[in-house]
Amino acid sequence: MDTTMQQGLQESPLCAAVFMGDFNTGKSLLINALVRHDILFISRDESRTPPVFIARSDSGEPLYGVRQKGESAVEINSHEQFLSTRHIKGAPCDSDALGALVPDMPFRRLAFVDTPGASTDDNKPAILKPAPALDNTLFVLTTTLEYWPARHTMALIKEYYAQFPGRFIIAANMTDQMNANEIRRVRDRARQRLERHGITPAPPLFPLSARLELARRIPGDEYRKRIKTEVRELCDAGFDAFRVALYEFEANASLNHAGYSLDTLLMSTLATAVTMSEKGQDA
């Protein structure tokens, strides 16, 4: 990526977590909750952003960048410009990647990649790029606890499980919309279900709520109050466990590794991510 963007990084990212899944399952909200900033655009509409790359910045200020199609440099943008870079209702978008550097992000060397929803039909990888970072990438399938065992989600799980053994986890979002006993039951039966479909060892599934997590640091938030205590506790615990899984992944990534340029990390994970979501769609 552009040197200005690169300079915002004191340490180059070491590894990445790529978030994939159907649109509207809350990938962007989940990343916002993890980095504790309202970085990404959130909408129920099917608005397709180009893939977004998020890493820690040590400059104190958030930095936003947009890369136009066919160019190698990244323009620095305001947050407003950054947020408005989307495909809206099928209209094409001129840029092929977005980047954001976030100060005080709780992950020092783990970067996040938000991918377009799996129901997206454009965004094919432009050309083949080398992928140095692929082994250091964790794939996070974002789905909802309510509908996770649907035919199409199960097909994606099977695919990822085979492609990324040991580097694949499932975030089951919107857990706050169920009752506590139901959450426990679905959660406890998830492993058994996966194994019945030949997915052994089953990847971990974390029931969580990105919306509740974002509200966690807002005292007296109405939405958090509305959710029953037991459910809230289950969601918070699920999110904490999820975060710990990411911390562990970050810690286990090779310690004497030099890190990657933003561009390398972004492009390599992206090519895979997009190909994978296309496969999921075909299933």
Binding site: R44, L128, D135, P149, R151, E182, K225, A258, G259, S268
Partner: protein
Amino acid sequence: MINPHQENREWLLTALDYLETFAGHDVDYFGDRNYESKAIAYQRSVVNDGKYRVVFLGAFNVGKSTAINAFLGGTYLPMDIEECTSRLTFIQKSDDLRLVLKLESGASSNEIDALRRALSDIEADIEISQDNRTLTVKCPDKTPAQMRRALEPLITVSADEDYPHLAPLRDKTESLTLYLPADALDDDIIFIDTPGVHSISDTRQKITYDIIEHCHLVVVFVDSAFVGNVHDLNFIKRIITCRGRRVFFVLNKADKLENDEIDPRAIHGPAAQLVDTFRRHEIPDSADTFFLSGYRAMAAIGLDQGQVTLEEVLADNKLMIPTAVAERIAESAAPARDLSAFLMGQSRFSHLMERLRDYLINENKSNAILSLADRFVFERASDYLISIRNMLKLARDPRKFEELRANREALLERIETIRETITVALQRYDARFRGGEVNGVTMPGYVEQMRSLLTETAIEAQVVQPTLAWLRQDNHLKQACREKFRPLTAQLEHQVDIFVSAILGTLNETIEASEKETAAIVAEQVGVARELRANLVEPQKALQAHVESSVSGEYVAFGTGGAVVGAMSGAMVGSVVPVVGTAIGAGVGGLLGAVVGFLARLAWSEERWIKKLTPLVRQNAMEMLLKGKEGGGKPISAMVTEYLENRGQAFSKAVRDEMSNALEAVKKECYALLAREEEIRKEREAVIARLEPKEVKLEGIRTRAETILEEDDLP
């Protein structure tokens, strides 16, 4: 005087009788006997009972059963947070509450005992018909809860685990009808609850799809938080393409939405999204759209009837009761009443209920039933006529046999021509891939092309020099020294990355061009083969197929061909890319090790640093890209070579497989037809005598059905 309506109805019944016998037993029927005869039998039972079918469709868990319960005013149907309904459940009005199972074959005493044991705690009374094929379950208390309890072992997904010994009975259950005295139901209506369309189980998905063609009104449920996802679209398209059916769309779970998102006029929010999705996918949209929270409606009904307590409702997280409302309820004089009113109002259930009832009252139901049945009869009769007519044509005209045989032989020859054309295209592909002459032009081959791009001179110019130039720029050198040379390694890596990407990009262009050209030829040829196959039944057309297909030049016929090429690019990302990545990582690691030795001498001048660093950068770049390191794995050039070879071979193989699959299928069918035609030839007279009455009969049915169809309104 005969009532024309009655007359049509009786005629439809006899027509359906004939069609059922034909599809079920006739030697001259060549379709899916089992499915067809069942579908016809069901359509006949629809005309017979004259009941208007309303089917509830949607993803599992989207709340179809909950909404039906709300209509019925009690929790008769089992509901669960996980995929719940596994079978079709028919719901009909009656004087008393009972559950009737119709079985495909008689129930054994073991099976009946198993059912009794499963229902022992509600002391259900089970009546068995004389032939053991109808079981009637009655519950002494006649409460919805008891009925739900009786349904659990029979229609839920979890029954497979919870009541395994009932599996034989469940498997032979043909239909399951719940009779109940609900006010909301009219005598002439049947509600049908279905398993979710996105079920992981193929059987459950099929059950649901199969019932659609027999229903008069379809109520489609979509989760209002996920409107317009591709998975829902697939089944919505399927419903919409079934002509002559009215559709209601219910955006359920509206409790997840904010108030300002609920806009039934579809100007903004999920309803607008649905309309927009329809427009984008060219689905004609003439449907009514409703917002609903079936769950809230059910809670309100439960509260009113005293089935659930105020505390239980307040503790239910899924109802999403806003804190302000909860506080108001706490201070209310009649909390249960107020909460129920709030939930019912917010559920918007009454809108849907009123509209549906209104629609059902005004709809000419018997007319809709007859017109659907008539369309069904017309389509079936036309379908069955085609093959009868073809056989007759043949039997009546012996010269046709010779013509046909010649045709078949020509077709088999054409298959060979197709095979040759594809083989030639593949040879051309191989020449481009391995190097050789194509159309008089010598092609270097993928690997040779890579070698011409990945040279020492190119590496020097595009990797080494730019890296050194970068070092000279700004304060990069200083910064690199300060930060243990990590920025330098990152820069080198970046340059290698750009360099390799550009080479792969160029190679990819060549590869894609030659794959595309080959795929286009194969697509066209396989398309011709498919068209030949489609025209096997009408042989006179067969020889024209080639011309038509090449004129249209469409890829559509080559359905799997696209997939082959698609799978290729998937495989390439999976196989080669990570390896190249590791090589870059390892190479840069080596540079770092070598440079660290200089760390103590920070006092060097910039030029001295660059002089010292230059050979290291060069050596690393060359090793990484071209030469490989001693004991340190393959260089990138070797990996790309391997990848190029694998890709070329994989493409050839995929194309060859695709070709032989397609061609073998046509040949096989051709031989099978020849055998049958030979048979017809030998017993011409007998065959004509056998087929003629069937043709007359089917034609008669088709014509009359068409006449009825053309009259806009049935009398």
